[in-house]
Amino acid sequence: MEDKEIFDKIVGIIGPFAKNKENVANVSDGSNILKDFEVNSSRLVDIILALEDEFDIEISDEEAEKIETIGDAVNLIKEKV
């Protein structure tokens, strides 16, 4: 799967959980999921679980804790798919 395709799917998943929609529209690899999109930690759990379902992968708690930016998520998913 191409990086761009993974990236777009991730952004599509995060969108509904983000409070700051403006920053979602201007998303980049370096966008911080919690800070830039104003997502709280419980919604981050929802996002991780949605990523698992979307890409049919498993993300451990330790791996989830390391995801800070969109780029981190793309790299982790790329390794697993």
Binding site: N40, S41, S42, V45, D46, I48, L49, S60, D61, A64
Partner: protein, 260 residues
Amino acid sequence: MNDDFLSKVDKKKYQSEIKKIKRQKLYDHIIFYPLAHIVIFSLKFIFRYKIKNGKEIKEKYKKIVKENSPLLLCSNHLTLIDSLIIHMALGSVSWYLFNFKHFNWNVPAIENFTAGWFWRFMSYAGKCIHIDRYGTTEHHDMVIEKIRYLLKDGEICTIFPEGGRSRTSRVEIENTTYGIGKIIQGVEDCKVLCLYLRGESQNTYSDYPKWGEKFYLDLEVINPESKNKGMRQVRDYSMQVVTKLKEMEDKYFSLINDKK
């Protein structure tokens, strides 16, 4: 004890925090009787708050705590003093004095501890553990571990699963915080006492209830279950609690509509 989870918190710090909690519990018990009388007197006779079916609720709570342990109390949240109203509703001062384990702990935001000496004292004296909502994962993990410790020790802790006062004045399932699920996950056979509290004239969230407010209060115990593991289990537990609170809210509004 959930060793996997505890391994993430500093064990030495954890032991020291548990010592502090034990000490706090002792001090709180010593000053409870006079302090509780002042607070309850103020709520009842100055603010004129009343609990509908107060006797029935106290009896029901006594029965629930006798039959269910460990017990986590989860409530909807509309005003800053919901936890005080809950204390007032669930037991009398003298009953709490001899059943101090059932005078529940609260987990207010750290702002309450730093808002001056009065609130700092009241929070400490009122069985509170502070939480910094914007704190680190380590801090949040430690708070969860402390609550798990208390529940396993037969204490009761109150948590507001929406994480704050509901801005819509209704139970907001979409704002469910998963801390409650984490607590439940680490306490074997943890029961949850769902509590729905609402002042009759409470139409929106506020700092304080209206003077002379009459409160409706409902209690139901659930035993959260999930065949999932990890974060999915945490989510399942949390959602079951908030869904129950939502059902209790629907029941309240259907009762109100039936009266009209």
